[in-house]
């Protein structure tokens, strides 16, 4: 850098201060707190030890992992079907449909939990209707437990999966389909041997994002079940900012574990999207990609790759 440009670095100082104070320092402080011995000034893995000894916290971790895996898998399956369908529409209709589906993602968190309470809660409209009509198929359904949580989680996973997956369907060229059918492959055989392998990196990458999304989800579960269902994010919240007993060190240790799992999932997404770029980058014409990217961004996709790319 030229000397006369040196003073330009001044522009970076406020940024560096803010990032250090509110991003780096809190993470460092959390990690150090998680290995801090409350009795002395020493270093200890006691908090982690305690977590892995305690059936209660292990259960929370297990519940969180299970619900994240389940809701991500269901989200991916529904997202794949819908993403394939949506690419069959004309771009104009496709964009409208995507807009509607993205619109609903603003409805996540507390309002979403609330909407489900209205529909399927103890005095929910559908709950009462079904009871009146005598449909006892739904009698076993409880919104405030595992099945209800999965239902609500899937709701915010599907639009995200759809948004992240549909562009990769454009990477599957029609020529390939024609070539495959000329060589005698059926529809199913084409998808099994060409289509799905092509989509695999995108699928795993999206799975990573969905998993991280579900692991970190707090507002929806908190508003829906409060402290009644044992989830990792909720346990952390109540350990650190709860009304009863504050055990910040233990909360920090749990938070470190949660952060590790989401970081790992996002890293998976990063690796996978690098791989899928190899397939798609050469094909898609530039103006279309550009349009795609801008539109995706203006709607605030939460893909880590978008943020990084």
């Amino acid at each position: 850098m030229k000397r006369r440009n040196r003073w330009m670095l001044l522009g970076l100082i406020p940024f560096a201060i803010m990032v250090f104070a509110f991003q780096v320092a809190p993470i460092l402080s959390m990690v150090s707190s998680s290995v801090h011995d409350p009795k002395g000034a020493g270093f200890t893995f006691g908090h982690y030890d305690k977590i892995f000894q305690s059936a209660y916290y292990l259960k929370a971790i297990k519940n969180s992992l299970l619900i994240s895996v389940f809701s991500s898998l269901i989200g991916i399956a529904a997202g794949l079907l819908c993403a394939y369908s949506i690419t069959r529409f004309t771009p104009k209709i496709r964009d409208r449909l995507l807009m509607l589906s993205n619109m609903t993602s603003n409805f996540a968190g507390v309002p979403l939990a609330f909407a489900y309470i209205i529909l399927l809660g103890n005095n929910g409209v559908f709950t009462l209707l079904f009871r009146q009509w005598g449909w006892d198929v739904f009698a076993g359904f409880d919104l405030y437990s595992w099945s209800g949580l999965v239902l609500v989680y899937v709701y915010f996973q599907v639009p995200l999966a759809l948004l992240l997956l549909y562009p990769s369907f454009y990477g599957i060229r029609d020529q390939w389909r024609e070539a495959a059918s000329l060589l005698g492959a059926g529809r199913w055989q084409f998808w099994r041997t060409v289509g799905l392998p092509m989509l695999t990196p995108a699928i795993f990458g999206t799975l990573g994002i969905l998993f991280a999304n579900a692991m970190g989800a707090y507002a929806t579960a908190y508003a829906l079940v409060g402290g009644n269902y044992n989830l990792l994010a909720i346990r952390i919240g109540s350990l650190v900012a709860g009304d009863v007993v504050n055990q910040p060190e233990l909360g920090s240790a749990l938070a470190v574990l949660l952060a590790l799992s989401t970081l790992l999932a996002v890293y998976l997404n990063h690796r996978m999207s690098k791989r899928s770029q190899r397939f798609t980058a050469s094909y898609a014409s530039v103006p279309a990609r550009k349009r795609e990217r801008i539109r995706l961004k203006s709607r605030g996709t939460r893909t880590a790759e978008e943020a990084g790319a």
Binding site: P26, F89, F114, M215, G216, V266
Partner: protein
């Protein structure tokens, strides 16, 4: 290439998806205007009572105001800090971009609960006791919108070829700061406005950090909604719908702007 044609299978899939996604919204909407809605498919009577009650509730207006000013301050602060920083990095220090990308992905990868734990640990004691104050929340908000702001400003700078613009301005005799203010800034403005609005709507829907950091002291619209859910379902519906319509307006404005931008860039 064959023209995409949607068969009835695809239409059914899309219809199912839309019903699934829009049903909770529709229910909340109806509930907000329903007089009685117990054992029928549609409400038995309609009323504007809940909406009226909502606007009569001083706490609602307070919460709305708190949300608006907290988001506005955070976004303004972020703009003031990020504009020069991203400008310097994109134009003068392109080597740092890889590092910046990593830094900017972090808020995505670190869930809100974890960020809240870190912030509470760092600022609840010691020389900088900010616990429960708006300062802490504004700092947290700054990090939440960091990816959107960085990405938006950086893309705008690259789209308008900031380096070339700057060089030409200097060639024509403009000083560096003048070139930035009169050439670069007006050109990137539309893109910056989009990221500003997007950040605003993200912050408006923020609940985790707000509730954990300042929940007891400051009530934003989300925290208020959470408190009211247990009381009156109809009233809470009216609030949720008002909130949603507001966000919808914001994102429509965003889309319109984005289309306009694309039109300009395409020409």
């Amino acid at each position: 290439m064959t023209k995409p044609k949607a068969g009835w299978t695809h239409k059914t899939f899309m219809l199912l998806l839309m019903v699934y996604l829009l049903l909770p919204l529709a229910a909340t909407f109806l509930y907000g205007f329903a007089k009685q809605w117990q054992t029928t498919v549609l409400p038995e009577g309609w009323t504007l009572e809940w909406v009226r009650e909502m606007f009569r509730d001083a706490r609602f207006l307070d919460a709305l105001w708190t949300s608006l000013y907290l988001c506005a301050i955070s976004v303004a602060l972020s703009l003031a800090v990020m504009l020069p920083a991203v400008f310097v990095i994109t134009v003068y220090l392109p080597k740092w971009e890889t590092f910046m990308k990593g830094l900017v992905v972090l808020p995505y990868a670190v869930p809100g609960v974890v960020a809240a734990v870190g912030l509470i640990r760092a600022y609840s004691s010691g020389p900088l006791d900010l616990s429960g104050t708006a300062y802490l929340l504004i700092g947290a908000y700054f990090v939440v919108i960091l990816p959107y702001m960085y990405q938006g400003i950086r893309n705008s700078l690259i789209t308008v070829s900031a380096v070339e613009l700057l060089n030409s301005a200097e060639l024509l005799g403009a000083s560096r700061s003048r070139a930035f203010l009169t050439v670069i800034l007006p050109n990137i403005w539309p893109g910056v406005i989009i990221s500003t609005l997007l950040s605003f709507s993200v912050l408006f829907g923020e609940f985790v950090l707000t509730n954990m950091l300042v929940g007891g002291h400051l009530q934003t619209i989300q925290v208020y909604l959470y408190r009211r859910v247990g009381e009156s379902g109809h009233l809470a519906s009216a609030i949720a719908i008002t909130y949603f319509l507001f966000i919808l307006l914001l994102s429509t404005a965003l889309m319109k702007l984005g289309k306009k931008m694309n039109g300009v860039a395409g020409r």
